[in-house]
């Protein structure tokens, strides 16, 4: 983590809104004790929407800083602050005030903090959200409040699709996604591999919404070209011991295994895969890109060699924007950027571009939404544009193979599937 410790965050969180915070603490304390009498009434509530050019732009960031996803929250905070630093802390000439809220990976907490952005902070735009259930949980409130929300991680398909009854979620004019849909990181690789002649696959995926969604999309892609799924194992999310499941894989004949795991699960899966000798037995690992992202590779290193995964970015991606992005990031922090950083950075960029078109005026949310729809730019991941009908990004998907070169284990780009669009329903 280097220089980025939590007490620093406290200062950053506190400096710009300490006064309201204290008033609020007093107010709620009083309320909690059911004290009568308005002793704690906050003086001089401003109430102004502050939405016009030149005034402070409030960005609400709902991220996890405690719990299992806290490292993702840290990555995304670094990206936000890097972008602002490179732009003199201004977007479209408006000074920026960041309001961080910690959802702690508790859905109820996240929903309530979103309500705080709407009711109390009256932010001009909201960003962040790591877990998909939280994105689904806040969708209706965000939509009803016409608050522009740029999702910079949660990848559940439904958030940007037409869904009957909007259950569990559906697209909204006010919701944009700067990350990906699970379709985009799962379907294309199934389509690609089966078209190249690999037909039989075994599936291994974390048994929760996102894992099953990824497995289903991969299956659709593989079957498109006559592919076939021969079986599956589905460990529970956050599974500790992977040996039982990898042993099952080893005792079935299909050698090509598509897997969806991320973070700690991915590390456990890849290590056990090697300990049980699957590479030597001829098994080959495929997966959605999170299986071999930096957080995983730095722990498993060459154990992941040979794995082929699909994602919309890789730190090694060879384009000028990515080179500059990686260099800028490393100038600021003593580590490599990861995919979560890119998602958030692109979210900031998209916001910046839209604001420039609006002259910084965020008061009309429908105009704000239109401006975001028209945003296109060259991102570290390649050409970035929002699909106007779904607000999910249209992006290139890269096939990456893990290789160890000069002692560094990296994702090397082997092919590209251009302009992958989510089907939207």
């Amino acid at each position: 983590m280097g220089e980025f410790k939590k007490n620093e965050l406290a200062e950053k969180r506190g400096y710009s809104y300490r006064l309201t915070r204290r008033q609020f603490l007093v107010a709620t304390s009083a309320a909690a004790l059911a004290a009568c009498g308005p002793a704690a009434v906050a003086p001089g509530a401003t109430g102004s929407a502050a939405a016009s050019p030149g005034k402070t732009l409030k960005i609400g960031q709902l991220l996890p800083f405690t719990g299992v996803y806290s490292e993702l929250g840290n990555s995304m905070r670094r990206a936000t602050e890097l972008y602002l630093k490179l732009n003199d802390n201004k977007l479209a000439n408006r000074p920026v005030q960041l309001i961080y809220e910690d959802d702690a990976n508790v859905t109820a907490t996240g929903i309530q903090k979103t309500q705080k952005f709407i009711d109390q902070d009256q932010v001009d735009v909201m960003m962040g959200v790591v877990p998909t259930p939280l994105a689904y949980g806040i969708r209706n409130a965000v939509h009803a409040a016409k608050m522009i929300f740029i999702d910079t991680n949660a990848g559940g398909n439904f958030l940007t699709r037409d869904v009957p009854n909007c259950t569990p979620a559906c697209k909204s004019p006010y919701i944009f996604r700067a990350s990906f849909s699970s379709y985009q990181i799962s379907y294309p690789i199934g389509d690609y591999l089966s078209a190249k002649g690999t037909k039989d696959f075994f599936l291994a995926y974390a048994n929760y919404g996102f894992g099953t969604e990824s497995a289903a999309d991969f299956t659709t892609g593989a079957k498109k070209n006559g592919g076939n799924i021969t079986g599956n194992v589905a460990p529970p999310l956050g599974n500790a011991d992977f040996a039982p499941f990898v042993t099952q894989i080893k005792n079935q004949p299909t050698k090509n295994v598509y897997s969806f795991f991320s973070g700690a699960d991915a590390v456990g899966f890849i290590k056990t895969w090697n300990q049980l000798g699957l590479p030597a037995a001829g098994y080959k690992m495929y997966g959605a890109g999170f299986l071999t992202e930096q957080d995983v590779l730095k722990e498993v290193k060459d154990l992941a060699n040979g794995a082929v995964t699909s994602l919309f970015w890789a730190v090694e991606l060879d384009n000028p924007e990515n080179k500059k992005f990686v260099a800028d990031f490393q100038k600021q922090y003593p580590l490599l950027p990861d995919v979560f950083t890119v998602q958030q950075y692109d979210g900031m960029r998209a916001l910046d571009e839209a604001l420039k078109k609006l002259g910084g005026d965020t008061s009309d949310k429908d105009k704000f939404s239109k401006a975001l729809e028209d945003v296109t730019f060259k991102s570290p991941r390649g050409d970035f544009a929002f699909d106007k009908s779904t607000h999910n990004p249209i992006q290139d998907i890269y096939l990456r193979e893990v290789k160890t070169q000069n002692g560094q284990t990296v994702n090397t780009i082997t092919d590209k599937i251009a302009k992958v669009t989510d089907p939207g329903k």
């Binding site: 939590k6 007490n7 965050l9 406290a10 969180r13 506190g14 309201t20 915070r21 008033q23 609020f24 603490l25 107010a27 709620t28 304390s29 309320a31 909690a32 059911a34 004290a35 009568c36 308005p38 704690a40 009434v41 906050a42 509530a45 401003t46 109430g47 800083f65 405690t66 961080y100 809220e101 910690d102 702690a104 508790v106 859905t107 109820a108 907490t109 929903i111 309530q112 903090k113 309500q115 705080k116 009711d119 109390q120 998909t132 259930p133 689904y136 949980g137 969708r139 209706n140 559940g156 439904f158 009854n165 909007c166 259950t167 569990p168 929760y208 919404g209 996102f210 099953t212 999310l237």
Partner: protein
């Protein structure tokens, strides 16, 4: 203090609590405070129901979230499947399902005690959690159940933040009154008797197993009410609502506030939610603070917040 004076004070406090969103409307943070206080009251109901087990009947359940979650899911699913927003129907479904589940689990656990009771309730609640997490076609699984219907009574829509708050506050007062009645009744004293000396109670002719089971079911039903209120408030049910974290949160609220008192669990709910929801955005190590608060309460406030308050009151009167 005369009785009339005490009654008057309580009435004023109750009125102030229920009307909070209106008299606080001038505050800058009134709307957010209203939602925080709403959730405090939801969890206060939950903690009160758990205290009936921990503080009165001596049954330390670590699986109480099963009934909170059952109520929340039942209210949400009933509104979706039956296509109705009517609160009497959805709340009725919540109470029904929570009660039935409490009957089943209760029948299995009432005979065990102490750590075994703790572990058995935990284990059975985790099985309920696994069902909620995996049964995607009914519960929404890990993605949660979204699009929970509005709470409507007749033609009165209670969805708006202020009305939703009033609904929760009124239910809270009703539950508190009900529990205070129960605790003071012969039934409530019999429960305490079972906790203190089960053998003697049996010798006195009480069916102690049945007493314990009835307390377990009653507590489960009230937790189901809290769950339904949570579903209406958030318009969403998360699998976490059934999870161990929710059970532990309730447990801790009861212990911090002071088990076996009416105000204790309520204050405990306020303290825990305040640290989790409000203080957490102002300070970086909220969990450390929460942990230290627990330790401090155990060491310094033996009977919880209420215990400290009573001791101070006794000293003042002396």
């Amino acid at each position: 203090m005369t009785r009339a004076l005490r009654f008057g004070l309580v009435a004023i406090a109750v009125a102030a609590l229920i009307t909070f969103p209106y008299w606080s409307a001038g505050w800058e943070s009134s709307r957010f405070a209203t939602t925080v206080l709403r959730d405090v009251l939801v969890f206060a109901i939950f903690a009160l129901s758990l205290d009936l087990l921990i503080g009165r009947a001596g049954m330390p359940s670590l699986g109480h979230a099963a009934f909170f979650g059952a109520g929340a899911y039942a209210a949400g699913i009933a509104s979706q499947r039956l296509g109705t927003d009517q609160l009497p129907i959805t709340m009725g479904a919540a109470i029904l399902v929570a009660t039935a589940l409490a009957l089943i689990i209760g029948a299995l656990v009432v005979r065990s005690e102490g750590i075994f009771f703790l572990m058995l309730t935990l284990a059975l609640a985790q099985i309920v959690f696994a069902i909620a997490f995996q049964w995607t076609s009914v519960t929404g699984g890990s993605n949660g159940l979204s699009g929970v219907g509005r709470p409507v009574i007749g033609g009165l829509d209670l969805t708006a933040a202020d009305r939703m708050y009033v609904l929760v506050a009124v239910v809270f007062i009703a539950v508190a009154l009900l529990l205070s009645r129960i605790v003071g009744s012969p039934y409530g004293r019999a429960l305490v008797g079972v906790r203190e000396n089960e053998r003697r109670m049996r010798a006195l002719g009480y069916d102690t197993t049945r007493l314990r089971l009835s307390a377990f079911v009653l507590a489960g039903a009230i937790a189901g009410v809290a769950g339904a209120l949570s579903a209406y408030s958030l318009r969403f049910v998360s699998a976490q609502d059934v999870g161990i974290a929710t059970s532990v949160r309730g447990f801790v609220m009861v212990l911090i506030g002071g088990a076996g008192s009416l105000f204790g669990p309520v204050l405990g709910a306020a303290v825990v939610m305040y640290i989790e929801r409000v203080l957490s955005s102002a300070i970086p190590v909220a969990e450390t603070v929460l942990g230290l608060v627990f330790v401090a309460f155990v060491l310094l406030a033996r009977q919880g917040i209420v215990g400290v308050g009573l001791a101070a009151w006794a000293r003042v009167r002396r």
